[in-house]
């Protein structure tokens, strides 16, 4: 069960985590608890894998070149192909989705040329075509994820 401190840490610091020498102390002061309590609570959230990290979310395509990629892979081949793709250091999210295009992953490369080279390599290695879906516009402004942790 999450305490109210855990919930506050999860919900209130996705966007503007303090950029000061003592961020955890700043948070403690904002929430009226001690720095040790904040550190311990973040430790728990991290150990229980409720947060993946405290860090940056980088704007797509502002640094390097990225694209969403989709593939249509027969069910029996999916574990092999997914594993081959996950091995690339340029791949981050790699998901199976319910669709005729059933494998979806995000590729991040240094530049356009690198991106194309990785795609060609993936197609050759897996034997399946890759559908490249780069971002053209990002409409989402309300950053962070509002969690309903009350039920």
């Amino acid at each position: 069960m999450l305490s109210s401190l855990h919930k506050q840490l999860l919900n209130n610091y996705q966007q503007d985590f303090p950029l000061s020498p003592t961020p955890y102390l700043d948070i403690a002061e904002q929430l009226g608890v001690t720095e040790d309590e904040v550190l311990a609570a973040f430790q728990v959230l991290s150990e229980q894998q409720m947060i993946s990290r405290i860090g940056p979310v980088i704007a797509p395509n502002k640094v390097g070149s990225s694209a969403l990629v989709a593939m249509a892979v027969p069910e029996v081949e999916l574990p092999r192909v997914a594993e081959q793709i996950s091995r690339y250091s340029e791949v981050n999210h790699n998901y199976e989705r319910e669709n005729r295009f059933n494998l979806w992953f995000v590729l991040i490369a240094n530049d356009e040329r690198h991106l194309q080279a990785v795609i060609e390599d993936i197609e050759q290695q897996t034997g399946f075509n890759a559908m490249l879906l780069p971002m053209l516009a990002d409409y989402y402004i309300n950053l962070g994820f509002e969690l309903n942790l009350n039920d």
């Binding site: 955890y24 980088i58 409409y139």
Partner: protein, 165 residues
């Protein structure tokens, strides 16, 4: 961005240490001052390269097990308006325009809904469709099944940046 910015991003991508002086720990790894780490991060954020700086939650672990990507085919001249309208909804997490891929994949607008159950997500999508006047457009909803890999993006320093600083 210079070489040090790339190194800094690569380091903080692994996560800020959970310790009293986390930025000092990062600074030590890069052999620069704590003050410089803070200034550079603030600058990268100000430039919009860092879209947000903070806690990155794991939806699945927090009970948000239904993750749907919704793709829509909307008229090109309306895509920006509809995209902005959809993004206002508190149920939507991401909203991107992407290029159509002919008849095989005619969709140009993508959004993401994370919900606690499949039913909730379907209800939220139905509400959103109604509210944003999307009932006449073709769409598909793609729930996620297995997650094969998930981690923060890894950014390397491009050769050009390394050469020219």
């Amino acid at each position: 961005m210079d070489v040090l910015d790339y190194q800094l991003l690569a380091t903080v991508q692994q996560g800020l240490p959970i310790a009293a002086r986390p930025y000092a720990a990062i600074a030590e790894r890069l052999a620069i001052s704590e003050q410089e780490v803070l200034e550079r991060l603030a600058n990268l954020k100000h430039q919009g390269l860092i879209k947000r700086w903070g806690v990155v939650v794991k939806h699945r672990q927090l009970g948000y097990r239904a993750n749907a990507m919704i793709v829509m085919d909307v008229p090109d001249h309306q895509v920006a308006d509809i995209g902005q309208q959809i993004s206002q909804s508190s149920t939507v997490n991401l909203c991107y325009q992407r290029p159509r891929q002919g008849e095989a994949w005619p969709y140009n607008l993508y959004c993401m809904i994370h919900g606690k159950s499949r039913e909730t997500v379907l209800e939220q999508w139905a509400t959103l469709r109604e509210a944003c006047g999307l009932t006449n457009f073709a769409w598909e909803i793609l729930f996620s099944r297995r997650c094969f890999k998930q981690r923060g993006a890894l950014y390397r320093q491009p050769e050009l940046a390394a050469r020219h600083g």
